[in-house]
């Protein structure tokens, strides 16, 4: 039911872990539903210079987390904010329909991490 690309990212997830002095952290999902993911970003000169994730969830949840970190790495904040759930699913050569809604949360986690970064930045500047 999963594409080869999904299985490949699931089996060899990229950018797993935490960033201790992260500039932004975003957590989405709910363990009650079976999916919870946290994305950590390190930003330099408005670019994502490092990104890591931790995910509790199904194959799709892990694969989308891995994929979104690969897609966002090196991008500017503005570019990264344009990554949508659909972009992640497309890059993975599709997700089973039932997983599109519940497990395709990685783009949301990335956006949450960026919002956190922006908030911290605003606090610093204030």
């Amino acid at each position: 039911m999963y594409s080869e690309k999904v299985m490949e990212h699931f089996s060899n997830p990229r950018n797993v872990g935490e960033i201790e002095d992260a500039d932004g952290v975003g957590t989405v999902g709910n363990p009650v539903c079976g999916d919870l993911m946290t994305i950590y970003i390190k930003v330099k000169d408005n670019r994502i210079e490092d990104i890591k994730f931790k995910t509790f969830g199904c194959g799709a949840a892990i694969a989308t987390s891995s994929m979104v970190t690969e897609m966002a790495m090196g991008k500017t904040i503005e570019e990264a904010l344009e990554i949508t759930r659909n972009d992640v699913a497309n890059e993975l050569e599709g997700l089973p329909p039932v997983k599109m809604h519940c497990s395709n949360l990685a783009a949301d986690a990335l956006h949450a991490a960026i919002e956190d970064y922006k908030k911290k930045l605003a606090e610093k500047e204030a």
Binding site: E18, G34, K54, V98
Partner: protein, 388 residues
Amino acid sequence: MIYMDHSATSPVDPEVFKAMEPYFVDSFGNASTLYSLGREARKAMEDSRKKVASLIGADPTEVIFTSGGTESDNIAIKGTAYRLRKKGNHIITSDIEHPAVEETCKYLEKNGFQVTYLPAGEEGIVKVEDLKNAITDKTILITIMHANNEIGTIQPIKEIGEIAREHKIYFHTDAVQSVGKIPVDVKDLNVDMLSLSSHKLYGPKGIGALYIKKGVRLEPIIHGGGHEKGIRPGTENVAGIVGLGKACEIAEQNLEENFKRLTAIRDEIIEKVLSGIEQSYLNGHPTKRLPNNINFRFTSIEGESLVLHLDAKGIASSTGSACSSKKLEPSHVLMALGLKEVDAHGSLRLTLGKENKEEEIDYVVESIKDAVDTLRKLSPLWCQVDEE
């Protein structure tokens, strides 16, 4: 591949396949016809009926062939409900039934019946006291499974049957998971109806049987040409019936040996996993369970991911996690045990079969350890557990 998902389905035994083969092309006759080709098919069918009856201690006249467990359950439950609706409208079942029983009961609830779902509680076994308290003068049917398909727990069917008899209430049991794995004797168990399925005991898919005790009358829910005493009309699936018969014959011969061997493998896997993996638990009762059923849960990981990792290592298993279900809800059986959703997600079911070997144990245990370890390293929940 190491196949450990026998409660989902089992391979067809080559001997079963061999027995079925003549009934597709050569002896293809309609068992209801008068000429020799039809009589041959009829004879093969009646021989199979004897074999099925023998495995469950019934008289052959008390066995009707169906398309499988789901159909048997539907015929028994709706057939009783419709037949006795003037007498009463109350049905008692448990909260860990297979969907074939659970959904049938829910359907009847929408159609004027009242259903009591007895709690299986933490150990996954219903309490006879609860049953006694649930019976009213409107109760017309008790339907409680013999062994659970997810956690393998064995219900006190004999005791429930005694109470049903005392109150003159029909008693049906879904024995799809237990027939062929543990001794099943309809007289000893005091049941009026019992469902069984062929593909769980090395027979083909699409065939099963329903035991209906002599004297028990059901309202037909399928109407047609009067086959199988009018309870399950439709041209008989002769090849399937022959396959089921052969499967029952083999199961009867090997029951004791398989029971002992699989119990030993089961207990060794359970012992090695629980002692080798921290925060691992067994779902269900430690001993009152099928010899081939293992159901673990591991904190901080999700079952579908675990099943996929094990598949990559050549092991076929299953999980009660919501993420692997069509409804995206965690298993109602695991929830009935009182587990939290997050724990139900981390379940892993291994169901053994006769082709599993003792030599596979260590590889399976090591593979589970590796997979759990890999997923916990990915899991944001595992860190939280660690710090506690």
